[in-house]
C-alpha cells in the first residue's frame, strides 16, 4: 500500500451522493454501494486505489459509554493539540470499536480484575478476547471508576479505514464509488456496529461531508498493456476494484480479455453488481465468469473450488500472459494461493517448490497482485 504523506491534512471533504443497499433484505451481509461527490481537480485516483475514510463514532455508543462510566460528556479533556469536550473526543478522535490488547491489559489493572489479568498474560487468548469486543464490552464486564483524563489516555487515536474504490474516474470523473459491507453483530448483550462501515452505511446523511483521502496502491494495478488478459478473483466486497478495472478498460477501449471469479453467499441475494457484469459481458468485455455461492447448496463452494475445477483453463490464460488479481478477505486470499499451488502441481506437474517459485516469479513480474484485508 502506498503511503499518503499526511493523512490528516491531505483529507478532502467529499459529500455523499448515494447510499444504497445492494444486497436483498434477506441477505446475510448488508452491503452498500456508496457514491461520493468529489472535485476531480483536487482528488484523483486510479483503478486499484483505495479510499481512506475518516469517521465519527456512533453517538449512541458514546452516550452508552459515558453512562457506563458515569462520566460527564462535557468534561474538558486535552488531546495534545488542545482542549475539547470528552464527548467530542470520544466521538471524533478516539478508537471505540476496535479493542487493542494493550487497552485490555491496562483495564485489567484499573479494574483489579484478576481473571482478566490472567487472560491478558496469554497473548493468544488476549488477542482473541480483544478481537471480538469493543471497549464498552470490556468496561461493562469489569466495572471500574476512572476520570475523563484517564479514559482518553487509555484509548488509541481513531484511525481511518480503507475501502477499495469501485469506480473509474474515466467513467465517473467527479465521483468515487465504494462497496461497503456494514459490520454489524450481536455480542455480549448488545448490538455492535463497525466504526467506519456503520458510519458510512447508517449514519452519514445526504450532503454530509465525509473526510477522505486517496490511498495509492501501486501493487494492485492493471497491466500497462491493455491487451493483456486478466483474471480477477474476489469474494464479497473483494469484487469492488474489479468494477473499477472494467470501467477503466472500457473507457480505454482496451482489448484484453477478462475472467471474473467471484464468490458470495447467495446468487439471488448478494451477487454484487450483477447487472454491471452482465452489461460488461454484453459489451464483449467479460469473456469468462466463474461463480461460487457458498450457501445456495448443502455443500460450501468457494472461489478456490471454482479455480481448481478450471485449473487447465487458468494455466492457459497464464500462458497467454494473464495477470492474476486476488482481493477480499485474507483467509480467502490464502486459500486461493493454496489452490493455485495445487493447480500448478496437478495440471502443470510442478513439484511443491517449483510451484512456489512459479508464483514468486509471477509476483516479481508484477503479474500476481493481492489486496487482502481482515
Amino acid at each position: 500500500m502506498g503511503k499518503p504523506l499526511d493523512l490528516k491534512h491531505s483529507c478532502y471533504p467529499a459529500t455523499l451522493l448515494e447510499n444504497r443497499r445492494i444486497t436483498t433484505p434477506d441477505a446475510i451481509a448488508d452491503v452498500r454501494h456508496l457514491a461520493l461527490s468529489i472535485d476531480p481537480k483536487v482528488l484523483s485516483y486510479r483503478p486499484g486505489d483505495a479510499l481512506g475514510v475518516w469517521f465519527h463514532n456512533d453517538p449512541a455508543l458514546v452516550e452508552a459509554l459515558l453512562a457506563e462510566l458515569s462520566l460527564d460528556g462535557a468534561a474538558p479533556v486535552s488531546l495534545g493539540d488542545g482542549e475539547l469536550s470528552l464527548r467530542q473526543a470520544l466521538s471524533e478522535r478516539l478508537e471505540l470499536t476496535q479493542l487493542h490488547p494493550t487497552g485490555v491489559r491496562a483495564w485489567a489493572d484499573l479494574a483489579r480484575a484478576d481473571d482478566l489479568s490472567e487472560l491478558a498474560a496469554d497473548a493468544a487468548r488476549l488477542r482473541a478476547y480483544a478481537g471480538e469486543r469493543q471497549f464498552i464490552d470490556l468496561v461493562a464486564a469489569h466495572p471500574a471508576r476512572i476520570d475523563a483524563g484517564t479514559l482518553v489516555g487509555l484509548l488509541r487515536p481513531l484511525q481511518p479505514r480503507l475501502y477499495s474504490i469501485a469506480s473509474s474516474q474515466a467513467e465517473f470523473e467527479d465521483e468515487v464509488h465504494l462497496t461497503v459491507s456494514v459490520v454489524s453483530y450481536q455480542a455480549h448483550g448488545r448490538d455492535h456496529l463497525g466504526g467506519a462501515s456503520g458510519f458510512l452505511g447508517a449514519r452519514v446523511g445526504d450532503r454530509d461531508p465525509v473526510r477522505v483521502y486517496v490511498a495509492e496502491n501501486e501493487g494492485f494495478r492493471l497491466p500497462e498493456d491493455g491487451a493483456t488478459p486478466v483474471i480477477l478473483i474476489g469474494a464479497g466486497t473483494g469484487v469492488a476494484p474489479y468494477r473499477a478495472f472494467l470501467q477503466a478498460r472500457a473507457a480505454n477501449g482496451d482489448a484484453g480479455r477478462h475472467w471474473l471469479v467471484f464468490g458470495n453467499r447467495h446468487f439471488h441475494r448478494d451477487f454484487l453488481y450483477q447487472l454491471d457484469w452482465q452489461a460488461q459481458r454484453k459489451a464483449g468485455r467479460l469473456h469468462r465468469v466463474s461463480l461460487a455461492f457458498s450457501r445456495d447448496d448443502a455443500e460450501k463452494r468457494y472461489v478456490q473450488h471454482r479455480l481448481r475445477e478450471e485449473g487447465r483453463e487458468l494455466l492457459r490464460w497464464l500462458e497467454d500472459g494473464a495477470h492474476l488479481y486476488v482481493c477480499g478477505a485474507t483467509a480467502m486470499g490464502q486459500a486461493v494461493h493454496r489452490a493455485l499451488l495445487e493447480i500448478l502441481a496437478g495440471e502443470a506437474g510442478l513439484d511443491p517448490d517449483a510451484a512456489e517459485d512459479y508464483l514468486d516469479n509471477l509476483r516479481r513480474a508484477a503479474r500476481y497482485h493481492r489486496d487482502l484485508y481482515a
Binding site: R20, R21, I22, T23, T24, H33, F267, H268, F271, L272, Y273, Q274, L275, D276, W277, Q278, R281, L286, V289, S290, L291
Partner: protein
C-alpha cells in the same frame, strides 16, 4: 396480404427440434434466465421462465437482475398418479423448488420458483417415477384432461387408457428432451423426425379433453379437441368428437373471443387416435402462423367453416363421422367428500384452495397429503378443478385417511357451496401476463361474496365463480356463472351468465370495475335472484331468463355486442 411469419415460428424452426441453445443457456452462470429464444423453446419441455414481478424494481435498484425462477408443469394424462409418485413429487417440490406445489386446471401439478440450475435435477427426479414434462407448455398438445370419475371405476379405467394413448400419440418425438435433461445420447443432426408436428410444431397451444357424462368437470367445450365418452351399461361405445373450443381472448380486440367446441360427430374407440392426429395435422397445416392471437384451432374453424374442417379431418383420418350421440351434462364442479364406486372402493375428493399446496402456520395441506400418500394404496387423481381425489380406498382404510384429511384441513365440509366451486388462476406475482391479482386475492373476494350471499339467503346456493388475472383464461372464466377477468391492478371485467354445466359462455356485463363496484353489482344481482328465482334455478340461468344478460349464441358474431 401475406404478413411475415410470427417471430416464434422462426425460433421453432431454428431450434433443431426443440434444442435451441438451451444447453448454453443452462451453463450460463451470470444470469438466472435463459436466452430469450430458449425461453420460448423451454415451454415445449414443460417449463416457463418467470420472475417475481413484485421485486423487479427493487432488485434493479440493487443492481440485481429480476428474481428469475421457472415454473415446470408435468404431463400427467387424466391427472392420475400413484402414492409413490406423489411422495416423489412432494419431495422434489420441497427440496428443489419454492417448497410448494400447485394442482392445475389441466389436472397436472406445477412447481414454481425452480432455479435454473435445479431444472435438470427436477426433471430427472420426476423421471425416476416415470413422469415427464414434455409438452407441458408450448405449441403442442398439452396435458390431456380426463374426467376422474371414481364411481364408474371400470369405465374410468378404459377411458383413462384412451386419454393416455391420445397423450402419447400427440407427444413430440424429438430426442431433445432426453438429451438435455436425462443425459440421453445425442442423436446426429438430421436424424430426428417429427412425423406429426414437423419442424415448426403447431401454430399455437393445443388442448385436448376427454369427458365422461354427465360430468363436465373437464369443461370439454373449452378445448381444441374434445372426446365425450358414450357408454352403454358401463361399456365404452365410442366418443362424440368436438373441435374448436378455447378460452383466450384479448381485451379490446373484437376479433378475439372465447368459443365452445363444435361437434364433429361420433366415432368408435379404435378410430380415436386417427381422429386426434387428423385434427392436429389439419391445424398444423391450416392454422395461422402469422398472428399468434388468431392461431388457435377455433379461429381456423371460423375461417374455413366447420363443414370444410370436418371434411378435411375425415379425409386425413380415412373415416366418416357418424351422427353425434345425445349426451346430457349436469355439472362442471367436483363432488366433494366420500363416494362409493361400483367396485365397492371409496373415493374421497379433497378441497384444495386454488390448487395451492403450501404448508402455512397451523395449516399443512402438503404435509397432510404426504401422510395420506404414505398409507394410501389406491391412486390419486388431480381434478380439473384443482382438487385431489384419494381414489380406491378399501372400507377398512377409510377412517384413517379421513382422520388425516380432517387434521390437515383438506375436507371441503366447512366451505360454502360458493367457495367449493370456485376457480382462480395463478396470476400475480409470477404469471408474466397477469394484469390483476387472482389466486392471492380470490379467498378475500370470496369472503365478501359469501357475506352477500348470506345476506340474501343464498348461502347454500351452488354457483360456479371463477377469477383470472388476464383474459387468457387459464381458469376457464368464460364458462363460469360469474367471473372476474383482470383488466388492470385491482380492476376486473365482470362476466355473467354461464350455465353451471359448461355449455354456455358468459358475457361481459360491466367493464373495468374495482372491488367496491363489483360487490355493489353482485349485491344487487343476488337480491334480484333471491327474489325472483324459480325452484332449483341456477344463478346464471336466472340472469338469462330475466333478460339481465343476453345469452351468447355465436361468439364470433355476438360475443362483443
Amino acid at each position: 396480404m401475406s404478413a411475415p411469419l410470427h417471430e416464434n415460428e422462426r425460433i421453432k424452426l431454428a431450434s433443431h427440434y426443440l434444442r435451441g441453445t438451451l444447453a448454453q443457456s443452462l451453463a450460463d452462470e451470470l444470469t438466472g434466465a435463459l436466452n430469450p429464444d430458449d425461453a420460448q423453446i423451454s415451454k415445449f419441455h414443460g417449463f416457463y421462465q418467470q420472475d417475481h414481478r413484485d421485486l423487479r424494481q427493487e432488485r434493479r435498484e440493487r443492481y440485481l437482475e429480476p428474481y428469475f425462477g421457472f415454473m415446470l408443469r408435468a404431463r400427467l394424462p387424466g391427472g392420475v398418479c400413484t402414492p409413490a409418485q406423489w411422495l416423489a413429487i412432494d419431495g422434489i417440490g420441497r427440496e428443489l423448488t419454492s417448497g410448494s406445489l400447485r394442482l392445475t386446471t389441466r389436472q397436472s401439478f406445477q412447481y414454481h420458483g425452480i432455479l435454473k440450475r435445479h431444472i435438470k435435477p427436477v426433471i430427472q427426479g420426476i423421471n425416476r417415477v416415470m413422469i415427464d414434462s414434455l409438452g407441458g407448455c408450448g405449441d403442442v398438445n398439452r396435458n390431456v384432461l380426463c374426467n376422474p370419475n371414481p364411481v364408474e371405476s371400470a369405465l374410468h379405467r378404459e377411458v383413462h387408457e384412451w386419454a393416455k394413448r391420445i397423450s402419447e400419440c400427440l407427444l413430440p418425438r424429438t430426442r431433445a428432451y432426453h438429451e438435455l435433461w436425462l443425459d440421453g445420447e445425442q442423436v446426429g443432426g438430421g436424424e430426428d423426425v417429427e412425423p406429426l408436428y414437423g419442424e415448426s410444431y403447431l401454430p399455437r397451444k393445443f388442448k385436448t379433453a376427454v369427458a365422461v357424462p354427465p360430468h363436465n368437470d373437464v369443461d370439454v367445450y373449452a378445448n381444441d379437441l374434445g372426446f365425450v365418452a358414450i357408454a352403454e351399461e358401463g361399456r365404452l361405445e365410442g366418443f362424440n368428437v368436438l373441435a374448436g373450443g378455447g378460452m383466450g381472448a384479448t381485451h379490446g380486440d373484437k376479433s378475439t373471443f372465447p368459443r365452445l367446441a363444435d361437434p364433429l360427430g361420433f366415432i368408435e374407440p379404435h378410430q380415436t387416435l386417427a381422429v386426434a392426429e387428423a385434427v392436429v395435422s389439419t391445424q398444423r397445416d391450416l392454422g395461422d402462423r402469422r398472428d399468434r392471437v388468431h392461431a388457435r384451432l377455433k379461429y381456423t374453424i371460423e375461417r374455413i367453416g366447420l363443414d370444410a374442417f370436418r371434411a378435411e379431418v375425415e379425409r386425413r383420418a380415412g373415416l366418416r363421422f357418424a351422427p353425434s350421440r345425445p349426451v346430457r351434462f349436469t355439472d362442471q364442479g367436483d363432488r366433494y367428500g366420500w363416494v362409493k364406486g361400483r367396485d365397492d372402493h371409496w373415493h374421497l375428493t379433497l378441497y384444495i384452495e386454488s390448487g395451492r399446496l403450501i404448508d402455512g402456520p397451523g395449516h399443512g395441506p402438503m404435509t397432510g397429503l404426504r401422510e395420506i400418500a404414505r398409507i394410501h394404496q389406491g391412486d390419486f387423481r388431480i381434478t380439473p378443478n384443482q382438487n385431489l381425489i384419494v381414489a380406491g380406498v378399501p372400507e377398512a382404510r377409510k377412517a384413517g385417511i379421513e382422520r388425516l384429511a380432517r387434521a390437515h384441513g383438506l375436507l371441503a365440509e366447512e366451505r360454502s357451496a360458493l367457495r367449493r366451486n370456485g376457480l382462480a388462476c395463478v396470476a400475480l406475482p409470477t404469471c408474466p401476463l397477469a394484469m390483476a391479482e387472482a389466486e392471492r386475492y380470490f379467498p378475500d373476494f370470496m369472503d365478501q361474496v359469501e357475506r352477500l350471499a348470506h345476506r340474501h339467503g343464498l348461502a347454500d346456493q351452488e354457483m360456479v365463480i371463477r377469477m383470472t388475472g388476464c383474459p387468457n383464461g387459464c381458469a376457464r372464466p368464460y364458462l363460469a356463472e360469474l367471473a372476474l377477468v383482470g383488466k388492470g391492478p385491482g380492476h376486473y371485467n365482470l362476466m355473467l351468465g354461464g350455465d353451471g354445466i359448461g355449455k354456455r359462455l358468459n358475457r361481459l356485463y360491466r367493464e373495468n370495475l374495482d372491488e367496491t363496484a363489483i360487490l355493489a353489482e353482485i349485491d344487487s344481482l343476488f337480491g334480484r335472484f333471491a327474489a325472483n328465482r324459480q325452484p332449483g334455478e341456477r344463478f346464471g340461468d336466472y340472469l338469462i331468463r330475466d333478460g339481465l344478460v343476453r345469452a351468447v349464441v355465436n361468439p364470433a358474431e355476438d360475443y362483443h355486442d
